[in-house]
């Protein structure tokens, strides 16, 4: 049985059209390449970029003198000793150029007295974060890049295209096989260079701040193509994700900008500002880093001092209506539509899966260990170590995207023909056409079950017993899922999409859980209740590879400029 597949060719295939993917497309097209910009959802709408509320960290020195090396020092400090220093340096050093280019493309960074405004965020040594008002940074970045993509020559855009597997020939990645959701048909794509820009894995968790299409696709694609991952145990929880009352039409990480501009008080059920108990005295200022704040809130809830829905209170009751309006304008009306009046009531917040520090191993060119395969944005592992500094995510999307586009174009110039191996694509084409026999399996419910397992047992606070229980649940779900997708193979079959998603999510969840089980200490976003404290012998990264016997972990020394020589 062999299904027919539609075949297309491109110089550069980019998987994912968030900030990193779009910047990579613009840069590769600028170098003269043809580009296929593919996304499983609409172009430039899903993913994490569009969800960003405010801060983009960059040493512009617009209001306060600054230098990329200060930003770099803060990034390494936040990363608790595990940053890949080459990648962290690249992020900080090239950030200003990308931010200025975005300004030239018309993004409209917030300004005061003619200068671009830079806000202070926890972990930075000075005000460093540019933004677009009000809570509009992500949509503005996406819109600006969509415009620049449209003005570029040679970029084809393809939404509803779900990449199922990368294709290899002669040990190199030569393209991909995709499932076109709105027709149900398989598609093969020959590419001289492929860039994975699929973002992170926050969808593995019940409460998360990213889009429903961020289930770790790129990590699974890379693993199956032989490219290793790093630091998979480090999932960043955003400490003050919205919890209650029910609030619609807003992103759950919206309270961060409120804290940047207005301070706010983080309180337990006894009305006490509790972060001092965990080593950071706030007194109305927003200075607690994400790993510490997450730990503090979870511990307060455990101690019986949580809010009614199981989080903490965040109060702006000390702010006047006019101060709130000046800072957030129309957002105050949107809150009123949800029956929220910040001058009269606190809201409830709790940690929410937000970002993944781990990811695909790449060098400064964004090249992975497999020729032909590049990576960009959150999909890259290592730049942020064990804990990401506020504001570094959009910066890395732009910087790493630009660099990946450039590197892909350099490879394309060296390749006169497409080495696509049609035979290597065949198993995935057949998988897309196959029909499994699990029609009684509720795939959407299984995704919720996996999310519950990860949230309860592989969340911010971990123990050996809980991690082992999670691994057993992942084993059981992997067996239940089976080897062939269920569904009817007609257009927009969500059972089939869930199946392909679970195939990726279960593999990536296993990588996270195994890495967390193996790390014998607590560091940054990885907190082991049974192994408290950071140990100097664990100042190392863990590398995950997919081998014939399954996932294998090995330790690796932290990459420093000296070690990279």
């Amino acid at each position: 049985m062999s299904a027919a597949a539609t075949h297309v060719e491109t110089d550069v295939l980019i998987i994912g059209s968030g900030g990193a993917g779009m910047y990579a497309a613009i840069e590769a097209a600028r170098a003269g390449c043809s580009v296929l910009l593919a996304d499983r959802s609409l172009i430039g709408r899903g993913g994490a970029t569009v969800m960003a509320q405010m801060t983009v960290a960059v040493a512009l020195g617009s209001e306060t003198p600054d230098h990329w090396s200060f930003h770099y020092n803060d990034t390494l400090e936040a990363g608790r000793g595990l940053c890949d220093e080459r990648l962290a340096r690249l992020l900080c050093e090239e950030g200003p150029a990308c931010i200025r280019e975005m300004e030239n493309w018309g993004i409209g960074w917030a300004r005061k007295d003619g200068r671009i405004t830079q806000a202070f965020a926890p972990g930075h040594d000075r005000p460093r974060c540019v933004y677009v008002d009000f809570l509009n940074t992500g949509p503005a970045v996406s819109k600006t890049l969509r415009g620049a993509v449209t003005r570029s020559k040679g970029i084809r855009k393809a939404g509803d295209l779900v990449v199922v597997d990368l294709v290899q020939a002669g040990g190199e990645v030569t393209g991909a096989v995709a499932w076109h959701m709105s027709s149900g048909a398989p598609v093969t794509i020959a590419a001289k260079a492929t860039i994975v820009a699929t973002g992170g894995l926050t969808r593995l968790y019940r409460r998360n701040s990213a889009s429903a299409n961020m289930g770790g696709d790129g990590y699974a694609l890379a693993l199956r193509a032989g490219a290793p991952l790093i630091d998979m145990e480090f999932v960043q929880f955003f400490p003050i994700g919205h919890l209650a009352p029910r609030l619609i039409g807003m992103d759950p990480i919206m309270w961060d900008p409120f804290r940047y501009k207005l301070g706010g008080r983080l309180l337990n059920s006894e009305g006490e500002e509790f972060t001092a108990r965990y080593g950071v005295s706030e007194e109305g200022r927003y200075v607690t880093t994400r790993d510490v704040a997450t730990y503090a809130i979870v511990k307060e809830v455990e101690a019986g001092r949580g809010s009614p829905h199981g989080g903490a209170y965040l109060s702006f009751e000390h702010c006047s209506e006019s101060a709130l309006r000046q800072a957030f304008g129309p957002v105050i009306d949107r809150l009123a539509n949800n029956q929220i009046d910040l001058t009269r009531m606190p809201i409830e917040v709790a940690p929410i899966a937000h970002y993944h520090m781990g990811g695909v191993i790449a060098d400064e060119r964004m090249a992975t260990e497999v020729a032909g395969l590049f990576v960009a944005g959150e999909a890259v592992g290592g730049a942020n170590g064990a804990n990401r500094l506020s504001g570094n995510a959009i910066t890395e999307a732009l910087v790493f995207g630009r660099r990946a586009g450039r590197s892909a174009a350099e490879r394309v110039k060296r390749m006169p023909t497409h080495p696509f191996g049609a035979e290597a694509a065949r198993p995935t084409i057949d998988l897309i056409a196959a029909s499994g026999d699990g029609d009684d399996l509720n795939t959407a419910a299984m995704i919720e079950r996996l999310q519950a397992t990860m949230a309860d047992d592989v969340g911010p606070l971990r123990t050996q017993a809980r991690l082992a229980r999670a691994l057993a649940a992942i084993d059981e779900m992997t067996r239940t899922l089976g080897a062939r997708p269920m569904g009817d193979n007609k257009p927009f079959d969500l059972r089939r999409l869930d199946w392909f998603d679970l195939r990726n999510m279960l593999l990536v969840a296993r990588a996270v859980t195994m890495s967390a089980l193996a790390r014998g200490e607590s560091r940054g976003a990885h907190q082991r209740e049974d192994l408290p404290g950071m140990l100097s012998q664990w100042r190392l990264n863990q590398v995950a590879r997919l081998e014939s016997g399954g996932l294998a972990l090995t330790p690796a020394p932290v990459v420093t400029p000296a070690a990279a020589q």
Partner: protein, 111 residues
């Protein structure tokens, strides 16, 4: 304080051969229509087709459908304790159930 919304949903793969399906969806005040559709998928029928990415932020703009004949975002329309009729956008090509072809022509995959 749980209430029940009666969702009457148009389902089908071609515009001239559809059917109505009815679901009783429990909800807490403040919940969205998209919350209800996701509840149907996990507890009743995972094959119900709906397009969405961002779930709650109204950032992706993908979840446009018609509610009682008016275009809404499913993520910002709220569930109510009454019959609510959900149909795909009438001015877009139907893909399946509540999913229509909403991408601009230049952003669709074509060979």
């Amino acid at each position: 304080m749980t209430s029940i919304a009666n969702l009457k949903i148009w389902r089908g793969e071609s515009a001239d051969a559809g059917r109505w399906e009815h679901y009783e969806v429990p909800f807490e005040p403040g919940q969205s229509v998209l919350d209800g559709l996701r509840w149907i998928r996990t507890t009743r029928d995972p094959s119900l087709a709906i397009r969405f990415s961002c779930i709650n932020a109204n950032a992706c703009k993908e979840c446009m459908i018609e509610l009682d004949g008016t275009t809404v975002y499913a993520c910002t329309a709220r569930l109510a304790a009454r019959e609510m009729t959900l149909t795909p956008l009438s001015n877009k090509r139907l893909v399946r159930d509540l999913v229509t072809e909403i991408a601009p022509p230049a952003e669709r995959f074509v060979k």
